[in-house]
């Protein structure tokens, strides 16, 4: 493992004595015979931005709606800040939610939208006014206080929705696809703004998203969901570099999978014989496998070297013919047909500026990756 071990105090989930702020214990939600959320357990710590990542219909939104009280639990328990939330109505929970559609009140001005939650709490007028002003400047919407939602752009509405959900200073803020409706550039800006706001207020965020890039940039930890279950929880780096299974490896980023069987189980490595690769693949940190066990080796496209010339000293070497090239500006993606017939995806960043690519269609190329680049995932 090339990564340094995490510092315990910055990462409460590694500290066994830390008390989770949000505890989801064996929560199941059934709609008729369909199980939307299946026995999910999860701990989220104070000050985290936790992302639930998964495709549509994986149950992430249902889980969020159970946290905010819009759906009842079929079984299980949700504890927020030590308090069991069973039987507590949405309007009495210490949580607020930013809706995917933003759900701004169309007949109220920006100001009144933000003030609504505070008014329901019966706060004095003067305090409401100061807090609304504070929030407006936090999301940089001071000049739009008297506008109606339909007079705002998508990005502006998103800020108002955020301000409205933050103004009550909830213990837990839930964001449902917060940046879904924004274009790429605005999304990138807003991601960093969200992180800044979260850090300055210290509110715990639970974010639901299907966009892995969004999850990667925002979150302290990610929970990958599929078919109502959480399949892996970890930091973005852990999820990307050390996926526990094939689904996660495949879902986050793109990946090349080599099917094979273990032929050698060494002290510090295993050898996997893969007909796909046309030979043995060396994977350093061992898995506790037996000889002959069926496994898959996952290699990220950007970790594969590609060259017409010699690649030097790499543990795993293959060769093939370039079949397709996709030029993406900052990088190029090559589809290479290996001698075994398998297609391999390789991406290389375009470091030098040139009009012609050094590699073109039908070129014979050498491919290779360092021993540590591959990871064994159970199939």
């Amino acid at each position: 493992m090339s990564e340094a071990t995490p510092v315990p105090d910055a990462k409460p989930w590694n500290d066994p004595s830390a008390v989770p702020f949000l505890q989801i214990n064996n929560v199941t939600k059934k709609f008729g015979s369909f199980t939307a959320v299946n026995n999910v357990s999860l701990d989220v710590y104070k000050g985290e931005i936790f992302c639930l990542l998964g495709g549509s219909g994986c149950g992430k939104s249902t889980l969020l709606r159970m946290l905010s009280g819009f759906e009842d639990l079929s079984s299980g328990q949700i504890i927020i800040d030590g308090q069991d939330q069973a039987g507590i109505a949405p309007y009495d929970r210490p949580t607020n939610m930013m809706f995917q559609s933003y759900a701004l009140f169309p007949h109220m001005s920006v100001e009144k939208n933000i003030a609504y939650g505070l008014k329901r709490d019966g706060l004095p007028k003067a305090e409401i006014a100061t807090r609304v002003t504070e929030m407006l400047s936090l999301v940089q919407m001071d000049d739009f206080a008297t506008r109606k939602p339909h007079q705002l752009s998508g990005g502006q509405r998103q800020r108002v929705a955020l301000a409205r959900s933050l103004v009550k200073k909830p213990k837990l803020l839930m964001l449902d696809e917060p940046l879904g409706a924004l274009d790429k550039k605005l999304r990138e800006e807003t991601q960093f703004e969200l992180i800044n706001i979260q850090e300055s207020l210290g509110v715990t965020f639970v974010v639901v998203t299907h966009d892995q890039e969004e999850a990667m940039t925002l979150s302290s930890r990610i929970g990958v969901m599929t078919a109502g279950q959480i399949v892996q929880v970890g930091t973005p780096r852990e999820i990307y570099e050390f996926p526990q299974n094939r689904f996660v490896a495949d879902f986050i980023g793109s990946v090349n999978i080599f099917e094979g069987r273990i032929t050698e189980d060494g002290e510090d490595h295993v050898m996997v014989r893969s007909p796909d690769a046309g030979g043995d693949i060396y994977v350093p940190h061992g898995i506790s496998g037996v000889i002959g066990q069926k496994v898959a080796v996952a290699v990220r496209p950007e970790k594969v070297q590609i060259s017409k010339g010699d690649l030097g000293d790499l543990r795993n070497k293959l060769s093939g013919t370039i079949d397709e090239i996709a030029y993406l500006g900052n990088s190029s993606v090559y589809q290479v047909r290996l001698d075994s017939g398998k297609m391999l995806r390789v991406s290389q960043s375009n470091q030098a500026r040139s009009e012609e690519s050094a590699l073109t269609y039908k070129d014979r190329v050498n491919l290779g990756w360092a021993g540590s680049a591959g990871i064994v995932v159970t199939s």
Binding site: M97, F99, R120, R164
Partner: protein
């Protein structure tokens, strides 16, 4: 292509002439000087003056107005409740049946509505003694039956379009359900309530058939009075009255249409 569009234009114009020529001639003849309805005798507004000195017409107008106000309001209340049941409750048995039944008065012949209501009112008076006799109240109830059907259709379409997460957002921000209804739901569907009310109002004002069945002594609506006058021969002051009614009704329809348009635009953005 060019010939086709000219053909379409001619057909369109003919269609509008077919629809509006009678109404236009009525409006023009309301300004006729002559007592003979079909002979033009010069421009004059004297029949309008005559109209406002006729106590029978003024009384009937006042009756019609009160009935329309009351039944439109009642219609919107019933229509709103029915729409909520049909749109918001999860599927329940006989939901389809109920939704068909609420819209049935739209296609039911007025004669049948009138007759059945009359029979029911008579039976109710015999059994429970209410409503005592026929008059204003029975017309209001009768008009509410089809008024509610029309406004339910309008309010339902608005409720279907409404984003439920707006209400959830209000709940999430600490508002109790009743509060949410008055703070969020009602303002959002207000344009539909408004146009439903206007439609029920104009329908009630226009109705002759149903009112004739369920009306009693001393409760003659404006259409009933006009009809009885016309039976004795068309007099020019009826033209004047009709012109005023057309003006009011078109105004109501235009306002309702604008409301619907405006709210659609708002919800789409």
């Amino acid at each position: 292509m060019k010939r086709k569009s000219r053909f379409l234009m001619i057909v369109g114009i003919l269609g509008f002439v077919f629809l509006y020529a009678p109404i236009l001639s009525l409006v023009i003849f309301s300004f006729n000087e002559s007592r003979l309805v079909t002979v033009w005798g010069g421009f004059s507004t004297k029949w309008y003056g005559e109209l406002f000195r006729d106590p029978q017409i003024l009384d009937a107008a006042w009756v019609s107005l009160r009935i329309a106000l009351a039944s439109a309001t009642l219609s919107v209340v019933i229509g709103t409740v029915a729409s909520f049941v049909l749109i918001r409750f999860r599927r329940f048995r006989s939901k389809t049946l109920l939704s068909m039944m609420i819209t049935a008065p739209l296609v039911m012949p007025e004669v049948i509505i009138g007759l059945s209501l009359l029979l029911m009112f008579v039976a109710m008076e015999n059994v429970i003694g209410w409503p005592g006799g026929r008059g204003l109240l029975t017309i209001i109830i009768a008009h509410s039956t089809f008024g509610a059907a029309y406004s339910a259709v309008i309010i339902q379409s608005r409720l279907v379009d409404m984003d439920l997460s707006i209400e959830e957002a209000a709940l999430d921000l600490g508002a109790r359900p009743v509060r949410v209804f008055f703070d969020v739901t009602l303002p959002v569907i207000a344009p539909a309530l408004m146009s439903g009310w206007l439609l029920a109002f104009t329908l009630s004002l226009d109705d002759l058939v149903v009112a004739s069945f369920v009306s009693g002594p001393g409760a003659s609506t404006l259409p009933m009075v006009i009809f009885s006058k016309v039976r004795l021969g068309v007099s020019p002051d009826v033209n004047a009255l009709a012109t005023i009614i057309i003006g009011l009704v078109s105004l109501g329809i235009i306002v309702a249409a604008l409301q619907i348009n405006r709210s659609k635009r708002m919800s789409r953005r």
